[in-house]
């Protein structure tokens, strides 16, 4: 059992949804894919590495798929920080989106107050049996910051040979200033 690998935590949730979800969820997810505000909101939750939602209409079986009475919504996420902080943030930062996504799932109590929401997620969660993380010591924020630092460093490295020492020092200090929040 391994829901934690380094600083990343895995969450895997599977919930049955109501017939209304067959109509509403494709719209909710279409908006999620096409209205950038939704993805920006998720980016505000700066501790998510990767997350996905999957509508499981049939459970794959190698043929047409196994049809149950209800379709299921699968959610998986990879995040740093604790499980509690993660669900707290979902509840506080994006409650309307949580309502849109899980609102048609049976038993969903709503994102606020947070304790019943946590109970719901916990009750429908499956623990990973094996979990792999390619950079266990890095948080999402560190990875995004490191990309900005690397770009600034590469840019300075490319033009450094052509700069005289005084101009290089100015450029170097400008670079450090520009990325000071990412160091």
């Amino acid at each position: 059992m391994a829901n934690v690998e380094g600083r990343a935590t895995a969450i895997t949730v599977l919930t049955p949804y109501k017939p209304a979800g067959r109509l509403l969820l494709p719209i909710v997810f279409w908006i999620g894919r096409n209205v950038t505000a939704t993805l920006r909101k998720l980016q505000m939750l700066s501790f998510i590495h990767y997350a996905r939602w999957v509508m499981v209409k049939r459970f794959p079986d190698g043929g047409a798929g196994e049809l149950l009475h209800y379709p299921y919504l699968m959610f998986e996420s990879n995040f740093n920080d604790s499980w509690d902080q993660y669900i707290d943030a979902f509840s506080e930062v994006v409650p309307e989106r949580m309502k849109g996504i899980w609102g048609t799932s049976y038993g969903f109590p709503g994102p606020i107050p947070v304790e019943p929401f946590k109970d719901y997620i916990r009750a429908n969660e499956y623990v990973a049996n094996h979990y792999w993380n390619a950079y266990p010591e890095a948080t999402t924020t560190e990875i995004i910051s490191a990309a900005k630092v690397a770009a600034a460093l590469d840019e300075l490295r490319a033009r450094a040979p052509a700069l005289d020492p005084a101009a290089f020092k100015v450029a170097y200090e400008d670079m450090l200033t520009s990325i000071q929040h990412d160091l």
Partner: protein, 181 residues
């Protein structure tokens, strides 16, 4: 564009039926796999984060759910967030996991074995589910780039501390030495 793609990252979701009577053995095998750098997935280049999860049965909610669902077979969920496109990755899974793939998916119905190149990919594709929404915080960065970026950031922090107060000529030379082209 596929809903499984964000930037250059791909969200693979594979749900395969576990053979009758194999759930406990498969669970025990997965639970006992070495972790961290010794994980079988460490050998599959381009894998950012991945997991295997045994879904023994779906969960009943009550709360208006009139029917109690039951899967005819437990499922094994495999998810991966990886670099690039699907086909090359399936081939990397086959060749890099090799016997480990057999030891895991061999507990699932219809698994053809890793030595069957075409069958292996076909079987995984036949059990793949498409994401409705995939979020990748840094979907433009490959695993290699993430490691390189983190390394550069660490080295620049070290350099910035060491280089405080250096004269311009010395600063430039040390910078060029520390960060060769």
């Amino acid at each position: 564009m596929s809903r499984n793609v964000s930037g250059q990252a791909y969200a693979l979701t594979v749900l395969t039926p576990i053979l009758d009577g194999h759930v406990e053995r498969l669970t025990a095998h997965l639970d006992a796999l070495p972790e961290g750098a010794d994980s079988p997935l460490a050998r599959v280049p381009g894998t950012h984060l991945g997991r295997w999860v045994v879904i023994d049965q779906v969960k009943y909610q009550a709360h208006g759910q009139r029917h109690r669902d039951a899967l005819s077979a437990s499922r094994l969920l495999f998810t991966s967030n990886f670099d690039g496109t699907l086909e090359p990755y399936l081939e990397r899974l086959r060749t890099c996991l090799a016997e480990d793939a057999d030891a895991i998916w061999g507990h699932c119905r219809g698994y053809p074995g890793h030595e069957d190149r075409a069958g292996f990919a076909r079987w995984l594709r036949a059990h793949e589910l498409e994401a409705a929404l995939f979020f990748a915080a840094y979907g433009d960065r490959t695993v290699e780039q993430v490691h390189a970026d983190l390394d550069k950031r660490t080295r620049l922090i070290e350099f910035a501390l060491e280089a405080q107060g250096l004269e311009p000529a010395d600063l430039k030379q040390r910078f060029l030495d520390r960060f060769p082209a």
